[in-house]
Amino acid sequence: MKQIPVTVLTGYLGAGKTTLLNRILSEPHGKKFAVIINEFGAVGVDNDLVVGVDEEVFEMNNGCICCTVRGDLIRIISGLLRRGLEKFDGIIVETTGLADPAPVAQTFFMDEDVRKATRLDAVVTVVDAKHIAERLADSPEAEDQIAFADVIILNKLDLVSKEELEAVEKRIRTINPYATLHHTQNSKVDLNAVLDRGAFDLNRILAIEPQFLEGGHSHSHDNAVQSFSFTSDRAVIMGRFEEWIGQTLAEQGQNILRSKGVLNIRNSPRRFVFQAVHMIADSAPGNPWKDGEKKTSKLVFIGRNLDRETLKKGFEGCLEAAA
């Protein structure tokens, strides 16, 4: 079965999600999208599927307390499947401003039927440059939405000064150093920057280029989301890494929102690519290193209440001895 790409569109109330959605739908790209809107009805479907709000988050009984999924989302994708999913080029899920993106994203990995029919392409978060600082101070959801993003649309640039923009961008980068960030007004962005990103496609992850690494933590509240990244030119010993990352995600998966790594494995001509949403991890050999290319391993964690030193020590324990 062809897997239909799914774009999850998040962002706080008033950030410009709906404007972006309308832009995606109205541009002449010749594609047909099924759009799953806030109310968890679907529009853009021949026979519209519109049902009431019942944001049904439930835990999977698999021993992992962070493995929550969205029952309503499974239902609506099943509804699309009943109509024949192959007539769509993509699915766009617009979440409510207050939605936790984790159960939304996890649904695409945890539900067998959804996983077979679709693939999560990217989490796109629209951020209001003017108001995000306030939101980050009082709303963990706003922080989670940034932390989860593969693509950040930093919107309403016309409402902020250059200095304000710099501060906002720096703040965003402490939460999420690797998302691709675009500056926009009225959510005006090239749709190629939003659609078909393959953010969860291990074959397409070549490198992680963290931005503004861990500079100037502006902790606006306790329990703030932070990101840590570790880099090494020493090769990683596969067995040790697998054991350590497995244990780390098992023990701290609830606090680790997302993690990603591109690793230089000892004696391997290929990159090893790894990524996880909470405890749900996926890894595979990636593209080969080119001749003469500098083989650097990079690992990023985004989460709450993480201890940098412990993670750093753990990662260093996976490296071969310095030459």
Binding site: N61, N62, V69, G71, I74, R75, L81, R82, G84, D113
Partner: protein
């Protein structure tokens, strides 16, 4: 029934996925509910396509010599033997995907977090509420004097005629997606999101979790002697023993087929110890419960079997697929 006998098959190609199918209770016709709201009815030599709904048709039930059809657009309709269409109910802004019919003429529909129960066609429905979350499935007790409703964190059992005392709630954390009740009403079995069955023995007040399914065991069917419960969701048909003290501590039968795809649907013959299983690759297989032998009824088409049903007389089987294929197989004498 000798499963080695020849089959005579008639194929159908529809313009939308087959969502559901059923025989009329008197066996006089069969119907395919499609993803575009149409219902295709075959009655003897006559074929009719009825524009019944504007949404998809996830449940079709035989009702006397006609059919009840439920759409996820919120409409519930009756299609009479002459093809005439009657509105039974219209619900707005709620999930309506599952319905059950009892041979005494009662029918029940899961409507969002409620269940609407009709004791006969033109009666006012009784609303059974509350449930802990959207009702995912409903199933009549075989004696027609009770109903099980599956939902988040458990199953609720309603009993009548008196509806007293309060409904019994069988709690178990997680999403219960499909439910069935044993003939003696001692066992309630639900299929769960994480590829498991939950089984309650309500007589002994004990419950068990049966894990290890690769997919969701949504389709369940009781053998005609009620001693076996066949389930989908694995690469073989997993059949649990319900004779004696039930399945606790006993191995299920794993009946199958050298096939690496999942069983998506199971159906039990109404009289003979024979099961039918539909697979994700489109294969339909018949399995004899006595000698455990399986034979192919139809080869893989590459498109998942989405529904299966035996005729009430047991002389034929219908199947539908995700790409709009329909099949009627008669067992030749």
């Amino acid at each position: 029934m000798d499963t080695q006998r020849k089959l005579k098959a008639v194929g159908y190609t529809f313009d939308a996925p087959v969502n559901a199918l059923a025989f009329a209770e008197d066996g006089s016709a069969y119907a395919f509910g499609l993803g575009n709201g149409r219902v295709h009815i075959v009655r003897g030599e006559e074929r009719k396509t009825i524009e019944a709904h504007s949404g998809a048709v996830p449940t079709v039930c035989g009702y006397g010599d006609g059919f009840l059809t439920l759409s996820d657009d919120g409409t519930l309709k009756h299609i009479a033997a002459d093809g005439s269409l009657k509105d039974i109910a219209k619900f707005k802004g709620v999930w309506t995907e599952r319905m059950a019919v009892h041979k005494n003429g009662s029918f029940a529909v899961a409507v969002g977090r409620d269940v609407h129960l009709w004791t006969k066609m033109d009666a006012e429905p009784r609303i059974l509420s509350p449930h802990n979350g959207t009702v995912n499935d409903v199933y009549f007790a075989p004696d027609g004097r009770g109903l099980a409703a599956a939902h988040r964190d458990g199953v609720t059992l309603w009993a009548w005629p008196h509806f007293e005392p309060q409904p019994m709630v069988l709690p178990w954390k997680g999403a219960h997606l499909s439910v069935t009740v044993s003939a003696d009403k001692r066992w309630i079995v639900s299929a769960m999101q994480e590829g498991a069955l939950h089984m309650w023995n309500v007589a002994l007040k004990r419950d068990y979790q049966m894990r290890g399914y690769f997919g969701k065991p949504l389709s369940m069917a009781w053998s005609p002697d009620k001693k076996w419960l066949a389930t989908s969701g694995a690469e073989t048909v997993i059949v649990w023993p319900f004779d004696k003290a039930g399945p606790e501590g006993r191995e299920p039968l794993q009946l199958g087929w050298s096939n690496s795809t999942l069983v998506t649907h199971v159906a039990a013959h109404p009289e003979a110890p024979v099961l039918a299983a539909g697979f994700e690759d489109g294969a339909v297989v018949m399995i004899d419960l006595i000698d455990k032998k399986a034979f192919s009824a139809t080869a893989p088409s590459g498109h998942a079997v989405t529904a299966l049903a035996f005729a009430p007389a047991g002389d034929s089987l219908i199947a539908g697929t995700a790409n709009g294929g329909g099949l009627h197989m008669s067992f030749m004498e």
